[in-house]
Amino acid sequence: MKNLSFLISLLALIIFSSCNSNSKKLPILGSREPIEKVIDGKTVIDTIYQTIPNFSFINQDSVIINQDSLNNSIYVADFFFTSCPSICPIMSKNMLGIYEKYKGNKEVRFLSHSIDPKHDTVPKLKQYATKLGVMDTQWSFLYGDRDSIYNMAKDGYMSYAKENANIPGGYEHSGYFILVDKEKRIRGAYDGTDKNQVEQLSKDMDILLAEYKATK
């Protein structure tokens, strides 16, 4: 099931990104639902897009991060754990590049969810952030109980994370960077281990930010 939804989202991404070349707007990913509304006595059809469900996690400075903390920012989310030996270091490196590009930009945030709450305590996350060179909370490393984080990955970001004793590190997770807009809708998914896709994310973030500039 998780594979199916993943495939669908990937397919959607491919289809949309192919149209994307001549328009300057990013696609809105995820499921959508038409609803009928009555405006001025006329029935019109409106669309409800999939959004990130509410959450409440603690970051490396022990501050609660929820939807309200992200108001008026677009953000990039991913899943990792500090002792991860496989894809995380390269993801952190790629994310670091993007973070440095948008450092200080109040409209851009980064959320890295730890999927190993057993070991990744708040002080451990703080240490990881500091060593990575992240001194503020524009990039927040999030601690939450296991199930909420895993459900968030699955239902919120169309990614996955779970324990697996058979692989090095003991956890597996997708290496995707998910781009979320100010309305909490998913606007892009990028392989965080792939340089080209990370570059695309960087370009798409500019496009997304420009969308908001245009509507202001």
Partner: protein, 141 residues
Amino acid sequence: MRKLILLVVFFTIAIMTIISACGDENSIKYQRYYADGSQLYKVHCGNCHMDDGKGLAALIPPLTDTTYLRKNREKLACFIVYGLNDTIVVNNIEYQGQMLAEKHLAAIDLAKVLTYITNSYGNQQGIYDVTEVEAYLRNCN
């Protein structure tokens, strides 16, 4: 008779090949080690130490500290096989993270990947022979 001629031709070619290769036998061995080592590096090391050997900030040490590699030449194979859980100082930065053990790597693969590492990223320390690795492995802590 025909067999004899074939045999003579075979041996002549074999001897000529050996003679012509003799001059740079070491350099051929080095190049083979280095090339195989670069592939092994991608599979076993690159995820953390990165393709450019620069590591990750203060989390994962770079492989560019020639002095460190030279000083610890005898321990490098042990580090890879048994992992590392110590605080080490590389390029004047303290690193405390854990390096996972790669117990499945054979001595010849260790020799190749170490040859690659100690001759890339600004290092130039020559071949890291398999016999050398085998000797060091016997003295791991």
